[in-house]
Symmetry: D2
């Protein structure tokens, strides 16, 4: 009997608007290649192409006359088993779009799943980071920790990143980062471990024991 | 039939030598209280009371004429299902003993388990942090991320911390932090989720598929 | 003979749109009170009330059909002697608006002053941070370091912050943070030291020796 | 008339004990080369070669039967105009020796200079960081911010670092980092700006106005 097909959402938090080429997307595509082999359905969302105002609630309604589009993205997260946050590094930390996404996820804390836990319980999270240089550890650590607070579980080696040497230099695509041994290997590890942990949490959901939200 | 009893090791990375009273230990004891109720065996190790020189290998042998005691602590980690790192905050980040412990764990990368993964696979990790003020997020994020790289899995809400208001002020014990609602609740959540994830990973170990170490 | 009047720009990077009350602004006002006594002219800019798209250049032109308003804010920085970045903490780090502002300042690297240094040379920078809890050190450290890379000098004790105890709780204004001894004292220290260093750098500008930009 | 000769202390916080070759020292030597040209007297201290127990006071007396050697290093800092902290990156952040040094500097807060400020007022600080990969921004930002709290001033571009590409790889010396354009340039910038700011602060010390320690 086939295992149920898992769903992954990959949020690309690049600062570049379509149709500009995104290095972060190129790294996410490597993860998707691994997900494909593991029978996981992947959906990419390039956040900057949507109208997502800054804020800390799930639905901000109309802001400056335009409808907040975050609720549609949030629904994709609710429907998924796996979240991968992809972000560029700017000034040594995750980019502003990634930070904005995390802030919008503050709305999670106002919500619960059927058994009274945060709605992200039993989902897993990973991170993919690209930058010319330096800052991947900080971007990964901050993001995985934030997602853990929101209810996601994090398997071992749940991140992949590529950075170049100190100082300005070529970006992921130009530098041929997709063939960088460390980045390739960690993308594979992350994908495999995310999928495995998602499967066993789906089969064995965390019981609402000692971890439900007090109203 | 009884479930197998899980073992937890709690590393207290306080800067205070015994018999000085450690605030971090007081927070770890709250987690242990939860572990007790969940039928988990706990062992505390106060690292500063042992001779653990700085370095990045598992066994440094004799350093300045004294035998490295880290290998004995490392063995406890290998034998445990759950690791909780407890650290004070100093200058906004985890203390130097916690940093030293993480550095000594670099030796993990030279080792594998029976199936070729990092030896910390199928173990889970959490963090407990105390400080007069500010820095818990950084200490938790850095530590959980490092432990994830080393092979540990991290359940949701795997950390608990107590900090006071901005600036100098009383520490955890003096401030009555053990009764602080957020700290109590998060200690309970962390304990329950660590135990649950440890149990399901013990029953369903991560297969050596896409995540083994290439020699 | 009177000293020349210094100018300070205080960027409020709150996520709240006017006319909502901003806690970060309330802390910036304490600094302004100090600046007033020191004969410094202050101008506050609430960034979220302006159209500042994400990007890494000084002038993005029209984005989604609207004119980028960052160049006008950037001009204020060029005209000022002192910059104070004010930011809330979200998820343990500086907010997304602060991150966006720093990213837009990447345009600085494409520019030089009259003698070939980064245009922010001979200006000084400070930081003001508010949050319900935890994260001020990270927000301050990241921001001051980034500003130092961009050419700002940083005097001792150049930051002030207020945070409450661990977990959710009242914000700066509600908690009476303006009377918090540490926050009051550090706001005063920061203001005095920023003004003094700005004055001596104005009188003794850093010579273009060993620090000019190679084209 | 000659300007007074400035003194710089460079603390090498490598984890390697003498006579092992230290990559961090190799980077510090580049800064010293610049200091030599600027008529600054340099003294290197390799902290791990001294007995410096963990703690947060200036003088711990005898610890485990041996005399604390930190007070002698601390005296060098008091006698210097410039401090450069050199640290390797381990697990994405500054190493444990650098963290320990910062913790020992907590003793500064119990002390004042002649006019009632923290004793590090009118001194300047910079940072030099080496690592196989990733983490320099975090190590620099944390360290410069901590030193600023302790009373040091920070000129623009006060840091230099070298890191390689993502993942394991050669270290600074092996990789020929001393010829890396970014690292060379930033070492020069840092040296020049540290020396200039130290000179003008020596000539124009920060007055004890609004920044003295209340007892």
């Amino acid at each position: 009997m086939a295992e149920p097909k898992l769903k992954a959402v990959l949020l690309n938090c690049t600062l570049k608007r379509s149709p500009d080429v995104s290095n972060t997307e190129a790294l996410l595509d490597i993860i998707i290649g691994n997900f494909d082999q593991l029978n996981v359905e992947s959906e990419k969302v390039r956040v900057i192409d949507h109208y997502v105002p800054e804020g800390v609630e799930t639905d901000l309604g109309k802001v400056n006359g335009k409808q907040d589009e975050w609720p549609k993205i949030y629904q994709k997260l609710l429907d998924a088993d796996i979240l991968v946050m992809g972000t560029p590094i700017w000034f040594g930390v995750r980019g502003s779009i990634a930070q904005k996404v995390i802030e919008r996820l503050d709305g999670v804390y106002a919500d619960t799943n059927d058994v009274g836990q945060f709605p992200m319980y039993n989902k897993v999270a990973g991170v993919a980071v690209t930058g010319n240089e330096d800052g991947a550890h900080d971007a990964c650590a901050t993001t995985l920790y934030n997602l853990g607070h929101l209810g996601f579980s994090v398997p071992p080696n749940a991140d992949t990143y590529w950075v170049g040497e100190a100082g300005p230099g070529p970006s992921f695509i130009e530098a041929g980062g997709k063939d960088h041994p460390y980045t390739k290997r960690t993308a594979k590890w992350a994908a495999h471990n995310l999928v495995y942990l998602a499967r066993i949490l789906k089969a064995n959901p965390i019981p609402p024991d000692g971890n439900t939200v007090e109203k």
